[in-house]
């Protein structure tokens, strides 16, 4: 199935490129080849659903090659949908050996693309005809949790549908009059679409909305400034409608004027001719050839074991050097030094085996950004730089969600709609980029857009009103302070709101995550030029193998590299030598420390055998009495922060699986 996945990957890339360059025949050929190969493979293996779907894709691709079907965005959408279905099937086959997907929906859609193409006429007239009543209102409420499926949008220009037949509608409702209702929202209104919903709901109670401008879809997607217009049929007086609407919050102005059917028809005639130029830049044809790297698969458990062994070598290196110092043998000294260097290099190399190219998570973003942009009616060019930059795999796993959030933000707030951009003299297509680069011993991952920038004055105004900044701070609005406000839990939307904007992690969660990895979040923004969020991350995480022990209800971690062995010690076998407690382990006298006593936790004398962890650094050993041995575990060292840096006996902390914090013991300090 690995081969199938490769073909799918190739298909995905080619589709994305094709969407940008619909005239590029090479890409079309590549897509066709991938689909064809997939068809062949699935037929051989007896997967009928896949075969059938791939076959239908071929038909559409044939049509596209023969120019019988136009490469409209909707067609590309359908191809993507089919691709998704195929990918899901491959996944299922991989996991449980069945296709496990109902292909009916995808098949229906793709056949619908081909069929209207056979008779002469416009291809893809699969216009989403709204029900007879143009206003199927209130706005379609999207049930939360329902999968976000981009619907096939109407072809450009289709929204200039002829206005409703007013005279007929009025005739059907004796005593009713038609009104043109203009609404202006408060310019500071947030969640405009919900405000619109309230307007629609209210008008729905007083009459019937027969048309809206902008369209219902655009209103829902908040693709309007702050004004909109509706055509309403109602038996109420204009004044009554007006005061009902004014009672809704954040409505700045309402104008209600009666219209006669004649006036309406005129207006319709005027607006009927506004063809919209579909602008598609023909970028350079970049055939995407899948990159081949020479690699072998290694089980992660093996790598971890390797890490552990290197850890032990590091300890022994120190020991060897100490011995060579003592013996004063020139050859031994030289060898020990050379050995030490080798071990250092080996440690670096082994750390690097945990490094994976950012590509592994970046690859799924083009598709995500594309779908988001399509959903929001935005035109976005998405560029990725630095796919080859490497990061520790744990860090990479952790930043996937924060990155998705930043990209979603960029599409939502960092891209004006095409019309606005043209008005501002910007290219119609917004440039969003995702860039990874090495910056000395850090990796910087940046999400940039060339959108409107963050309205700094406005953010500070809001923050001042809500008390998030003091008047003093508000007087010198800077980028650092801006980021602080934006990442305040009271300002950014909250983390739990998943399912709404996908995984609704707020900016505060992004910042927390980056900082918990030992990195930092930075922001640059300029009005009408754009914004960049940068995550500065360490190359590798400090991950160590540790022995977890418990004492007086607290869990502590001992770096495995310092642990020689664990023994059970009978309290009666503890001796005293010059005032210090010692134990004998195989003829060796080892000083004993009680963790609880050392940390000032109340000791409780026991007469039973207790576990002792023997730690060894160089030639020196120490036994540490604990209450319980919990086991070995890989832990991520998290810094203690400015207030606790340099506390004796503790070198850091780690967060355990249950969310509790465990302190990492600074073993060398116990040997002093």
């Amino acid at each position: 199935m690995a081969e199938a996945r490769e073909h799918l990957e190739a298909l995905n890339r080619a589709l994305l490129d094709f969407e940008k360059n619909p005239q590029n025949e090479d890409l079309l050929t590549e897509i066709f080849r991938s689909a064809h190969t997939l068809k062949g493979m699935s037929a051989t293996m007896g997967y009928e659903g896949m075969t059938e779907l791939a076959h239908e894709m071929e038909n559409v691709l044939d049509g596209l090659r023969a120019e019988e079907i136009k490469p409209a965005p909707a067609v590309v959408d359908v191809l993507f949908r089919c691709f998704d279905t195929l990918a899901e099937m491959v996944r299922n086959i991989d996991e449980r050996d069945v296709e496990g997907v109902d292909t009916a929906a995808a098949l229906g859609e793709i056949r619908a693309v081909v069929e209207p193409a056979q008779p002469a006429g416009a291809p893809l007239t699969k216009k989403r005809e709204k029900p007879a009543e143009p206003a199927a209102l209130p706005l379609r409420p999207e049930a939360p949790g329902a999968p976000e499926r981009p619907e096939i949008p109407q072809p450009a220009g289709a929204e200039t549908h002829p206005g409703p037949d007013l005279s007929a509608l009025l005739a059907a409702q004796p005593g009713a009059r038609a009104y043109r209702v203009d609404i202006k929202l408060d310019s500071h209104c947030l969640l405009k679409s919900v405000r619109v919903f309230m307007v629609f709901k209210k008008l729905g109670q007083l009459g019937e909305i027969v048309q809206s401008e902008p369209s219902v879809e655009d209103l829902e997607d908040e693709k309007f400034e702050d004004q909109f217009q509706m055509l309403v049929i109602s038996r109420k007086e204009a004044q009554e409608l007006k005061s009902a609407l004014m009672a809704i919050s954040e409505i700045e102005a309402v104008r209600v004027g009666e219209v006669s059917p004649e006036e309406h028809e005129e207006a319709v005639a005027r607006t009927a001719t506004s063809p919209r130029e579909k602008e598609r830049e023909e970028g350079p044809a970049v055939p995407a050839s899948p990159m081949k790297t020479q690699s072998v698969r290694v089980n992660i458990a093996r790598l971890d074991k390797l890490m552990g062994l290197v850890g032990e070598m590091v300890i022994n290196r120190t020991r060897l050097q100490e011995i060579s110092e003592r013996l004063q043998d020139k050859d031994l000294k030289e060898t020990a030094l050379f050995f030490a260097r080798l071990v250092s290099d080996l440690q670096d190399e082994v750390m690097k085996t945990r490094m994976v190219p950012v590509e592994q998570i970046f690859n799924r973003f083009p598709r995500m950004v594309r779908d988001l942009a399509r959903n929001k009616g935005k035109e976005v060019d998405f560029a990725i730089e630095g796919r080859e930059i490497e990061l520790d795999r744990t860090i990479l796993d952790e930043i996937s969600d924060p990155l998705m959030h930043l990209l979603r933000n960029a599409v939502d707030h960092g891209a004006e709609d095409p019309a606005t951009r043209q008005m501002l003299g910007k290219p119609a297509r917004c440039q969003i980029s995702l860039r990874a680069r090495r910056d000395r011993d850090q990796v910087s991952i940046e999400v940039s857009d060339d959108g409107p920038g963050i309205d700094i004055a406005r953010v500070f105004e809001l923050a001042l009103q809500t008390g998030l900044v003091s008047p003093e701070e508000a007087r010198s609005p800077g980028l650092d302070a801006l980021l602080k406000i934006l990442t305040h839990p009271g300002f950014s939307s909250r983390e739990e709101v998943s399912g709404v904007s996908g995984r609704g992690v707020g900016l505060d969660a992004v910042k927390s995550k980056v900082e918990s990895l030992g990195g930092s979040l930075q922001l640059w923004t300029e009005e009408s030029v754009g914004s960049t969020f940068a995550m500065k991350l360490p190359l590798t995480l400090a991950i160590i193998e540790a022995l977890l022990v418990a004492s007086r209800g607290e869990v502590y971690a001992l770096p495995m590299g310092t642990v020689r062995e664990t023994v059970m010690i009978d309290p009666f076998s503890v001796r005293r030598v010059r005032g210090r407690e010692v134990i004998l382990v195989r003829e060796e006298t080892i000083p004993l420390l009680d963790l609880a006593a050392m940390f000032g936790l109340n000791g409780n004398g026991t007469s039973e055998a207790v576990p002792v962890v023997i730690c060894e650094i160089g030639r020196r050993s120490v036994g540490i009495t604990v209450e319980e041995l919990l086991g070995r575990q890989e832990i991520v060292i998290t810094p203690l922060g400015p207030f606790l840096k340099g506390i004796k006996g503790v070198s850091g902390a780690t967060i355990l699986g249950n969310g509790q914090v465990a302190l990492i013991l600074d073993v060398p300090s116990f040997l002093d």
Partner: protein, 167 residues
């Protein structure tokens, strides 16, 4: 429009009021990041008594201090909350007895603090606010934090673990 921030000397500040022992204190809202319910605190050895330990705040380690102990006053119990304050890069949790409300006063109503006996408190108190029958002590978070930072220095700084140490 009662909520417009007035210019000049009538500038308003918003404060979070909380109880600590028998006194009522306040800090500026702009320095508060959030207020948490009390959680288990991992004890920190070899630290001053008011340094209660650390908690996991969404993947970050947050130091938590007992503000009553820091100010040398007796805690009055209460439902205990952790006020997370942030100043620049520094963030710390302060355990207080009871958080009562957010309110606002004009900046000019903060009076210079009368000299308090305990020298430890002197720098940490910005002033006092008199409201009808209440007296609130306005804390200077910056001073509280720097006072927290001051204690260390005695112990060694080499805290690296052997396993990740390549000399």
């Amino acid at each position: 429009m009662e909520d417009v921030i007035r210019q000049g000397d009538e500038e308003e500040i918003r404060l979070v009021a909380f109880q600590l022992g028998r006194e009522e204190y306040a800090i500026e809202v702009s320095q508060v990041r959030e207020i948490l319910n009390m959680v288990d605190v991992t004890r920190m050895p070899n630290a001053p008594a008011y340094m209660k330990g650390v908690i996991n705040l969404r993947g970050q380690i947050l130091a938590v201090i007992d503000l009553a102990e820091r100010l040398n006053i007796a805690s009055g119990g209460g439902d205990r909350r952790i006020i997370v304050v942030e100043l620049g890069e520094n963030k710390v949790g302060m355990i207080v007895d009871y958080v009562s409300e957010v309110f606002r006063v004009s900046a000019s109503s903060v009076e210079a603090s009368p000299v308090f006996s305990q020298e430890a408190e002197s720098g940490m108190i910005k002033g006092v606010i008199k409201l009808q029958n209440r007296l609130l002590i306005l804390l200077d978070v910056a001073h509280v934090l720097s006072a927290v930072e001051d204690w260390r220095g005695a112990s060694g700084t080499d805290g690296q673990t052997a396993a990740s140490d390549s000399e």
